[in-house]
């Protein structure tokens, strides 16, 4: 008798647990895009001395290449690492419509940018978020300008 009651309780618990994801779910997600550039690699760069070839050899291929004023160029590397919990609540009933999603991921898009002069020698570099790094980007110009 006691065993039957236990089995019954287990079945009810499993049924409830099986139905619960329809209205509540908790998730832990991680997203990784690309590979971070090591801080030590950036610190080893020597503005005014390192050439484009030196920097490409140390950091590999950038994500983006931009034209800069006066014949210079800028190279951008970025990557993405996010991880965190998310909670989703939704109502299965038409009478109580609603859906709530809470994302607790720390969204960071860090990157680094290197600026080269017309002689393709490194002028400066900077770390930061992509938005900050691209602030003074210029549009491509006509070749004869």
């Amino acid at each position: 008798m006691r065993r039957a009651a236990r089995t019954s309780r287990a079945c009810v618990a499993m049924t409830v647990a099986g139905l619960l994801p329809g209205c509540l779910s908790l998730s832990y997600d991680r997203m990784s895009v690309g590979e971070p550039v090591a801080d030590a690699t950036l610190q080893a760069l020597r503005p005014g001395r390192d050439s484009l070839a030196d920097c490409l050899g140390a950091l590999g291929a950038p994500e983006c290449v931009y034209e800069q004023r006066a014949g210079g160029i800028a190279l951008l590397w970025f990557w993405k690492e996010t991880a965190g919990w998310g909670l989703e609540l939704s109502s299965p009933s038409d009478e109580v419509p609603g859906r709530l999603t809470l994302e607790l991921e720390g969204a960071e898009l860090p990157g680094c940018m290197l600026w080269f002069g017309p002689g393709l020698v490194l002028e400066r570099w900077r770390q930061g978020t992509i938005g900050d790094l691209l602030r003074d980007r210029v549009r491509p110009t006509l070749v004869d300008q």
Partner: protein, 143 residues
């Protein structure tokens, strides 16, 4: 009780999902090593590697971009609590040409083979993992 455990086990088996998405073919590291700055022309590059995915005008210079991307996704659904992980790596090659279309510089990052199926608490950037995968890809050594 064994039946209950079996049922639970069956539920867990249905809760694992794996996904993979590839964009473009991985770049050929051996072909890339054959490029010679100061000698190889843009025409020869296109003959060997095909059409670039992007061309950027840099004043009188130009830069060609070649790329490929692999994404591996893992998802574990444990009824109410779910765990997901997505790892995306790419092969990238930027080639810089002068105004005569002769290659002056190039930079390559080859990472598609390092992409991993993993759970979110695993570190997918560990050096031993990367080195083991690098050893299996022709033309890739070290970093």
């Amino acid at each position: 009780m064994p039946r209950f455990a079996l049922l639970l086990l069956c539920l867990l088996f249905t809760a694992c999902m794996f996904g993979r998405q590839d964009t473009n073919d991985p770049l050929d590291a051996v072909t890339i090593r054959g490029l010679v700055p100061g000698t190889t022309t843009a025409r020869e590059v296109v003959e060997r590697l095909g059409a670039p995915s992007d061309v950027v005008q840099l004043g009188r210079r130009t830069a060609y971009r070649y790329d490929a991307t692999t994404t591996k996704s893992t998802f574990l659904a444990l009824i109410v609590v779910n765990f997901g992980n997505q790892d995306t790596r790419s092969d990238r090659l930027w080639l810089f040409f002068d105004e005569r279309d002769v290659l002056t510089h190039y930079g390559a990052s080859l990472g598609t083979h390092r992409t991993q199926y993993a759970l979110p608490w695993e570190n997918v950037h560990e050096d031993p993992d990367n080195e083991a995968r690098d050893a299996l890809r022709p033309g890739v050594q070290g970093k």
